[in-house]
């Protein structure tokens, strides 16, 4: 069985004196009855798919509804001009998160991480980290094991579907996974990894799933940006030695509780939040008559 708590995961890696990623690899081998080579090859394929999904972005594409497309292209032009507030690294993260979110809406190939709607968070953060720090594909594959390990714990304790727990379960989970992966890439301790995952989730707790017209477009594409940017901030805080007062496991439990209390109107049904605004409803009506 996969780890069901951060506590159990950290204890295992400490007891065996192995990295957090290595503990996830060993669990997966026993869980699915596969060899190290098999699971490594599969995770490495995920990393390659993430890289190509980011490169395959086409700024000319628009989604079927016409609501999204081209934003990552605008961001790219803006960054080239050199006056961005966030600076080069964060700017690229923003651009890449938009690329992935828009590519997904335009029916391009992506990696669900943990869902299709949140597919931009991990690649935006990880592709940029690899580029910035000159990291190898092996290191990135290892980081993905760490990210997936965090996701497994979230799935065991809470939710990873917007229909169940709102956007906090999708973008929140992706951000938490990315934050922990970043800490591992910077050789942070397993405790810092857990802190980063906790901080990232805490910052997005309560985020509702309110897609306009029920489509994975508005506000999903831009929420990938906040998930990615938040992951970087959380990782930096953890690496600075800042602790999360509430431990990761309890944060995930709180995410479940918040999700359970969330009205169904705010869980992917397109009946509340932004979907229920005057503009959201008008878009929905227009699409119903045109599609």
């Amino acid at each position: 069985m996969a780890f069901e708590s951060m506590e159990e995961w950290l204890k295992c890696s400490q007891d065996k004196n192995i990295s957090a990623a290595e503990a996830v690899i060993l669990e997966d081998m026993s869980d699915r009855g596969v060899s190290r080579e098999e699971t490594w090859a599969r995770m490495s394929a995920m990393w390659n798919a993430m890289k190509s999904s980011e490169q395959d972005y086409d700024r000319a594409l628009r989604s079927h509804s016409g609501l999204v497309g081209g934003a990552a292209g605008q961001m790219e032009d803006y960054l080239k001009a050199g006056h961005s507030i966030c600076g080069d690294v964060m700017g690229k993260v923003i651009m890449r998160a938009l690329r992935l979110g828009e590519s997904n809406a335009c029916m391009k190939r992506i990696v669900a991480a943990p869902t299709a709607g949140a597919c931009g968070v991990l690649p935006a953060v990880l592709v940029t980290a690899a580029e910035q720090d000159g990291l190898s594909d092996e290191q990135m594959t290892e980081a993905l094991f760490t990210a997936a390990g965090i996701g497994q714990i979230i799935a065991a304790r809470a939710y990873i579907a917007g229909a169940m727990g709102g956007c906090q379960a999708e973008i929140g989970s992706a951000s938490s996974m990315a934050a922990g992966a970043l800490v591992c890439l910077r050789d942070g301790s397993p405790e810092q990894m857990a802190d980063a995952a906790a901080i990232a989730m805490k910052n997005l707790l309560g985020l509702v799933c309110d897609p306009v017209a029920g489509l994975v477009e508005v506000p999903c594409v831009k929420r990938n940006v906040i998930g990615a940017v938040n992951a970087m901030a959380a990782a930096d805080m953890a690496l600075a030695g800042i602790h999360s007062t509430i431990p990761a496991d309890q944060v995930f439990d709180a995410m479940k509780e918040v999700g359970d209390q969330m009205s169904s109107a705010l869980r992917e049904t397109a009946e509340g939040g932004l979907a229920a605004t005057a503009t959201g409803r008008a878009v929905s009506e227009r699409l119903k008559s045109s599609l």
Binding site: D31, C106, A112, A113, I160
Partner: protein
């Protein structure tokens, strides 16, 4: 959830339930039909009907029927490809009682005349559940090796199937029995831990009282690396 339920699948967007799951429903329909469908009547229910167009659910189902996997980049153009390949596809909306919100009902016909009616739901994360096969309630995901035997509801058929599996050292993971009425038409669905040899499947299909045997081998998907 296993590691690759969290990271993955590699898929064409925008939605694991409305797009990737829909491709899988189309694909499992094709594999259960055992042939390329020449004609498909597809009814969309619930959220599939309400937001399916915007999620490409129609194109995803057609792509699956054409034999594509959820990561096939031709999915957005599947309706045009279906036309080119002479596959007739019709869509309509339907109200299904007590069905999962993301459900499709497909009636497909192969060029040779073989027909199949299948109702399946997309459960999220690209996972699916087949709910009805030729009007009979069933429950299977297609994630394990799955043997489906349609037979006359008479004594002995379950024993024939299970002794064959025992003889071939195939372990049964789950087993379900359904029938429309006593002495009528029955379906058994077995999910197994090991693949079932092809000659054993052929042997089963020639038994008296056995109407149709269908086998889904999950290896086909694993080889694809999803």
């Amino acid at each position: 959830m296993n590691l690759y339920d969290i990271l993955g699948p590699v898929m064409v967007g925008p939605s694991s339930s409305h797009t990737a799951g829909a491709v899988k429903i189309g694909l499992i329909t094709r594999r259960l039909l055992g042939d390329a469908p020449a004609k498909a009547d597809i009814a969309l229910a619930g959220s599939f009907a309400a937001t399916g167009k915007g999620h490409g659910t129609d194109r995803a189902l057609a792509a699956g029927l054409l034999g594509m996997q959820p990561d096939d980049t031709r999915i957005p153009n599947s309706l045009e490809l279906a036309r080119e390949q002479g596959m007739e596809v019709h869509f309509q909306e339907v109200q299904l009682k007590d069905a999962h919100p993301n459900t499709a009902l497909l009636h497909v016909t192969a060029a040779g005349g073989r027909e199949l009616e299948l109702q399946a739901s997309s459960l999220g994360g690209g996972r699916i559940m087949v709910n009805k096969l030729d009007g009979i309630d069933v429950n299977f995901t297609g994630e394990s090796h799955t043997l489906i035997v349609h037979n006359l509801d008479q004594p002995g058929h379950v024993a024939e199937v299970t002794s064959m599996l025992s003889h071939k050292s195939v372990n049964i993971a789950t087993m379900q029995l359904y029938r429309n009425k006593r002495g009528g038409y029955a379906v058994m669905v077995l999910e197994t831990d090991q693949p079932i040899p092809e000659d054993s499947i052929a042997w089963l299909s020639h038994l008296e009282g056995v109407i149709k045997v269908t086998y889904l081998n999950t290896m086909q998907e694993d080889e694809h690396g999803l």
